[in-house]
Symmetry: C4
Subunit: 228 residues, 4 copies
């Protein structure tokens, strides 16, 4: 308990434990949300001998399930890469993370609405459901933007091998999300709900492809480990 | 495996592993509870073409969802800070933690009652729901008080960088919760349920702001950096 | 990657990671089961202005919730102490653990049956529910017994500071559970369901008190750390 | 912070942390799915005094629950062994893992369909349910095959003590699953649904027995101890 190395070591792990519990909590939320989606795949009511017909009738709702499953997978990969940018957390960053999780947690609701509209609704209902899904996805981008902006302004939180330019460049992703999910919603509202849904799927693929971050310059941040 | 430093090290990690499983179990519970809330956001029954009207009709129940989501976020941040106070657990402390988790686990129930009363109930029902929520929140403060009191009486469990005065000062928080959530319930019962709900929201914000602990003296424990 | 210490270290952690994933998986199951219990606390259907009456009518079912919450808390503490006995896992031990988790996972079902019988059932229904709960609890003891017996026959799996006599002594606990939960069921069937329920509660308290293991001799196993 | 050993160490743990979050996320999903199964064991509606009769009537559906519980246990053990083959993850491997989890997450749906068909359906419904379960199980094998094939082509991802031949040999397992679950479905469709169900159960046992990997040569990778 003298000064020197002993003084330093217990603090380092304490820091890591912090981001560790935040990561564990977030992983728990992602794991639960991705699993809860299946709860909306309910056994349809059916008369004896008509199970197959009833299942086929529900089939369009499976599309909503698959889209949301992939969406949450994408979000988890993005979140995974997000936490690799920081080496500790503050109260503010924990709150921003709770904001991110809020967006994740609500996904099953627009998913269920979309599934219901695909099976039981008319075009008006489908329009409402697609716009609702797009709005939820657009708004979900906001706390990600706050995260990158906060990290840019607090360089002390950055993990050692991440440079400032990389963090700054990432802000383009949630802004793209905010704008294009919004446009997908508009498209679904004005033109055609299925076109809006297609727009949402394209955006999910975009976030899947860029989940490890937008490249900045000659790949300098991707190389794991520091340069020395 | 001689005596000396090697003898000390295995005890440290063994202790930490203990608190590790307690933290993991608690994080799991928090993650599940915060995610289960969305299960009460059900797709309303609707006639074709009336999805939007049905969703709008349910809108007040979303308020209950948002309040409880933030409440559990606040509780998780408080719990996160709580476990940083200790460096190991005992059977008694584990039981106190289970008491804390009991309070967390029941939140979805008063939330669902509140959501139902906001949509389908009259003023009497809303009064019952608000008082129930306030009572649950007030009683939930009790195990937190027991935790701080127990930790004060067992200084050997304190993490190295935490001083006695800090632990003692924290007892003010659950006492404030016990009294003021109770008062919010009374306010909701006697004066107006929405005023009681407002009192609950104010208290949740209070616990959010103080989640890292009440400051004691000139910030000596908050400094996260190393002194060196 | 020469021979010597580097050769030893990576294997040690690999072992620990094994029991680590088993513990994490188990903690996840415990956390989910203890939280899912609240899903059976549903908002009752009610006419406007009669929320309070409906909630009071459901009150007996809350007893089932509280008993099962404490029961799973007790089981988690027991499981926590169980995994501290071993320093690694084998395929057989993993399967025994899955057997233990099977017992944990089904608890919400007899709990829901008991809650339903307490509110809507007559004495016959309550008798069925109590016997079902007691049977589930009795059968749940079986894999714990297998765990202790297996560990006794495979001393290489024992954690360093645990002696053979301690493991052997613990077999008394699941045997007590098997017999006395069975007797509580018989009591509930023949004499009175509420008496059977009381017997179950007494047994849960017994497992709570002995969760860290039956003492063997002069406390030699409780001392954390090895003697040197 | 000089070059040399310090340069190496941060890379190891950073890699391990990666696979750590992937493992934690996967464990969370497995734990939730195995626990959610019990949600389909609902308290039957019953008239006072007829709880026992109603429970007995539902008994066949418990078979579906038990089979799926063991199935997910088997899948978790397989996944546990799978992640021990690698020492880090890439974006592609993370996506393959999400594909594996997709197969796990949908299990409760065919399980619920099967449980429903066992209680309420006729032979046609049971045939549909068994084929659906077999198809889900067969398709679930696909991402496992992709995992092994990817690992074979990216030897740098292999954990140090795993040799190329072992990884290659494991591809036989998902191929067996793909073919034989498919055959079990055909058997259930053409011959007899219960025979198909039996085929599924046999396959689950096969995957349980081989969960730690098919042996290649004189057990060189199974030896868990150190060489000395």
């Amino acid at each position: 308990m003298s000064a020197g190395p002993e003084e330093v070591q217990p603090r380092g792990p304490a820091r890591l434990a912090d981001i560790g519990r935040l990561a564990a909590f977030s992983d728990g939320v992602f794991a639960i949300v991705i699993t809860l989606l299946v709860l909306d795949l309910r056994v349809p009511e059916y008369h004896q001998g008509e199970l197959l017909t009833s299942l086929v009738r529900e089939a369009p709702s499976y599309l909503a399930f698959v889209v949301s499953f992939i969406y949450i997978g994408v979000l988890w990969l993005n979140h995974h890469a997000l936490l690799r940018l920081v080496r500790g957390t503050t109260l503010a960053l924990s709150w921003i993370n709770i904001g991110i999780l809020f967006g994740v947690v609500i996904i099953p609701f627009p998913t269920a609405v979309l599934a219901s509209a695909l099976v039981d609704g008319d075009t008006d209902d489908l329009r409402v459901a697609v716009v609702m899904y797009a709005l939820a996805a657009a708004l979900m981008s906001a706390p990600w933007l706050v995260f990158f902006a906060y990290l840019r302004r607090h360089p002390a939180l950055r993990a050692g091998h991440i440079d400032q330019g990389h963090v700054h460049a990432q802000e383009a992703r949630p802004i793209t999300g905010l704008v294009l999910y919004g446009l997908a919603g508009l498209l679904g509202w004005i033109v055609n709900p299925l076109l809006g849904l297609l727009g949402i799927i394209v955006m999910i693929i975009y976030h899947g492809v860029t989940s490890e971050g937008l490249r900045t310059g000659p790949l300098q941040w991707v190389r794991t480990g520091r340069r020395g």
